[in-house]
């Protein structure tokens, strides 16, 4: 089944205009994107859209949305996402985040617990471990990045996602978009990517799934245990043979994992009521 996606701009505040992409059938679910911004070619999201209306807002500062100057810290990003959901008339709902988006999702669940029914953190940034330091990906050269983003940088999935358009003008646009995105990323992850999330994890009350590719070279999978230790309601799933780009390396498996977690949580909630 092909999903029909549509994109709209939502004015959250005077200087905060947010691009939102939505599609699918079922109860609403928020997806918070990773380092490079909006996903327009994601089998993972297409699969999720089979059972949910998937709502994908572009974070302020990433291509498509404005207002990064109003947001300095991940906590402020969480407040913004809360505002956006309110603007859209959305209440309590599942929140799925990947990479930096998972860090924002965790912050949202900590700062606005009433808005998050279930939380899925896929390879989240946000914690630091001296024994397992997060890679300084800002100092990697472009040709080095793939081996940190993928378990197999030569896989079809990796080549397809990393490919630049043949047209030189379009290529400039894509590269500029990546630079804009990485500038926004730097605001939240520069240096030591720890902005105090560890202190707030205890506030997360939603049932939480922490999923991680066991070959992630960007954000060490060992951090999964730290998330699990900090979030009382968390369970951990490890995806064998996957790197940081797990959603593209095993899209169907990831979607199945998320769907079954959400279904289980729903059933448990029903049982306790």
């Amino acid at each position: 089944m092909t999903v029909t996606w549509q994109e709209d701009t939502i004015q959250v505040a005077e200087r905060l205009k947010v691009l939102v992409r939505r599609g699918g059938n079922g109860g609403p679910l928020v997806y918070l994107h990773g380092l490079l911004g909006i996903e327009r070619d994601s089998q993972f999201l297409d699969a999720l859209a089979g059972g949910h209306e998937v709502i994908q807002p572009v974070h302020p500062g990433w291509p498509g949305s404005t207002g990064l100057e109003l947001i300095d810290e991940p906590v402020e990003m969480a407040l913004h996402i809360g505002d956006l959901l309110e603007c859209m008339g959305l209440g309590r709902l599942p929140v799925v985040g990947w990479s930096i988006g998972a860090m924002f999702a965790a912050e949202l669940a900590a700062v606005c617990p009433h808005l998050v029914s279930e939380l899925v953190l896929i390879a989240p940034f946000g914690l630091w471990d001296d024994e397992h330091p997060t890679e300084d990906f800002f100092s990697l050269l472009p040709h080095q990045l793939p081996e940190y983003l993928w378990a197999d940088p030569h896989s079809t999935a990796a080549r397809r996602r990393d490919a630049l358009p043949a047209d030189p003008d379009a290529q400039v646009e894509v590269r500029l978009d990546r630079i804009v995105a990485m500038t926004a990323v730097a605001k939240f992850l520069w240096g030591i990517p720890d902005r105090g999330l560890a202190r707030r994890l205890y506030r997360i009350k939603a049932p939480t799934l922490v999923a991680w590719g066991d070959l992630d070279r960007l954000v060490p999978p060992q951090l999964a245990d730290r998330f699990a230790a900090g979030i009382r309601t968390a369970e951990v799933a490890r995806l064998a043979g996957c790197g940081h780009s797990v959603l593209f390396e095993q899209p169907a498996e990831c979607a199945a994992l998320v769907s079954s977690f959400l279904a289980r949580s729903l059933a448990q909630e029903g049982a306790t009521q």
């Binding site: 800002f138 100092s139 730097a186 605001k187």
Partner: protein
């Protein structure tokens, strides 16, 4: 034209195979390559070279700031400037500079520079660079996305702190201080001259021009490569209705003077090649950081993008041909230097005369030949213009003011 002696204070004993064995001279350079016993000697050697420069008549002597760096071992230029303030008596002391976005609170820079100005008898030139990405964002962890905002705020705070007569409150985005009240006051009033070390950032040109600061173009790749950029600077000055006084522009140039052309190559060749081929070896991943450059300048760069030139194994002649160095016998250097200064319209020439692994006897030779054989033939340039950006000669009870004999004047009259 004013002549300033610029010193990087390199660790000139790096192994000759450095660039083959390590990825960068900067940021993550192996610590065990630094031998502090040698370092003890090098610091004193370099200070002696700066003292000699004053003795031989340079208008200014320059120190600068680098962090975790093998070719610049002055993480705190103010430490060196303090020594120079005490041991020299005439030359301007150019601190080029303090990367003001790094210091929290930035009033620390206002305080230390005020100390230097008072100590030196009003000879300080205050350099305020944004700082390189390596120094500021990597070594000192500043966020590249906000470094320029921090810089502007620190600048506003320091300038105001020097100027205000009474304590004031400062509520910035990055610095919040209930009582700003700098003791001591600067001797130069209302403040020391401000020079802005920079490269080709249009935003920085505007900033320097609008505030009437000297813009110092700092690069080691020579005047020919810089010429197009500097043309842009002068065009921008005209657009903003600013005069074209050459003294509002500084430029650094590596110069090597021998008895004749062949002697220059024989004496300095290996040391200069060591600097250009080995010392400037830095990891590119520490340079182009997201947010450090504006999207506007990145876009211009992407559209005009050409593959970088492999700057490896440049010969002496390559370095002369590409303009990185001006080198040869006195007559060659006179002609080329004059040509460069006229072409760039530069009034503040900063000369790099100690380069790479050059030992002290060659630095002395180069410096003496420069001042005796070259300087007298270029100094008259721009004589019709007034240099409004250098310290006025202020009498100093610990030294001698130019042409004034032993100090006897009333400091108070000059300082107010």
């Amino acid at each position: 034209v004013k002549l300033h002696f610029f010193h990087l204070m390199p660790y000139r004993l790096l192994p000759s195979d450095f660039s083959d064995r390590y990825r960068s001279v900067w940021v993550d350079i192996p610590r065990d390559l630094y031998d502090p016993v040698e370092g003890h000697g090098l610091y004193h050697e370099y200070l002696d070279e700066l003292l000699l420069a004053e003795e031989l008549g340079f208008d200014g002597i320059c120190v600068n700031e680098h962090h975790q760096n093998g070719y610049g071992t002055m993480p705190s230029p103010n430490v060196m400037a303090a020594i120079l303030a005490r041991t020299t008596s005439r030359a301007a002391i150019l601190v080029l500079g303090n990367s003001i976005a790094l210091y929290n609170p930035p009033t620390r820079v206002a305080e230390e520079m005020a100390m230097l100005d008072v100590l030196s008898g009003g000879r300080l030139i205050a350099g305020f660079p944004v700082g390189t990405p390596q120094d500021t964002c990597v070594c000192y962890g500043m966020n590249p996305a906000t470094i320029r905002d921090r810089y502007r705020e620190a600048h506003d705070l320091i300038i105001r702190a020097w100027k205000e007569e009474k304590p004031f409150a400062f509520n910035g985005e990055f610095t919040k201080l209930r009582y700003v009240n700098i003791w001591p006051r600067t001797l130069q009033q209302p403040r020391p001259p401000v020079w802005i070390p920079s490269g080709s950032s249009v935003e920085t040109w505007d900033f320097a021009l609008q505030n009437d600061y000297v813009m110092c173009y700092l690069s080691f790749t020579g005047w020919e490569r810089a010429a197009l950029n500097i043309d842009g600077y002068w065009r921008r000055a005209a657009e903003l209705g600013v005069d074209d006084n050459p003294y509002r522009l500084g430029f650094i140039q590596t110069v090597l003077v021998g008895e004749d052309d062949a002697d220059a190559e024989r004496s300095y060749g290996e040391h200069v090649q060591f600097f250009y081929n080995k010392c400037l070896h830095t990891w590119p991943g520490f340079v182009d950081l997201p947010g450090y450059r504006s999207i506007k300048s990145i876009k211009a760069g992407l559209i005009a993008w050409k593959p970088p030139v492999e700057a490896l194994d440049l010969s002496w002649q390559d370095l002369i041909d590409n303009g990185s160095i001006i080198a040869g016998g006195p007559e060659t250097v006179r002609q080329r230097l004059r040509e460069a200064a006229e072409r760039l319209r530069v009034g503040q020439l900063m000369l790099l005369l100690q380069v790479g692994s050059m030992p002290p006897h060659l630095v002395e030779k180069n410096t003496r030949l420069f001042m005796e054989e070259v300087a007298p033939h270029v100094r008259d340039l721009w004589g019709d213009y007034e240099d409004r950006w250098s310290p006025r000669p202020i009498l100093n009870r610990y030294g001698t003011a130019p042409g004034a004999g032993r100090a006897s004047g009333d400091l108070r009259a000059i300082a107010t």
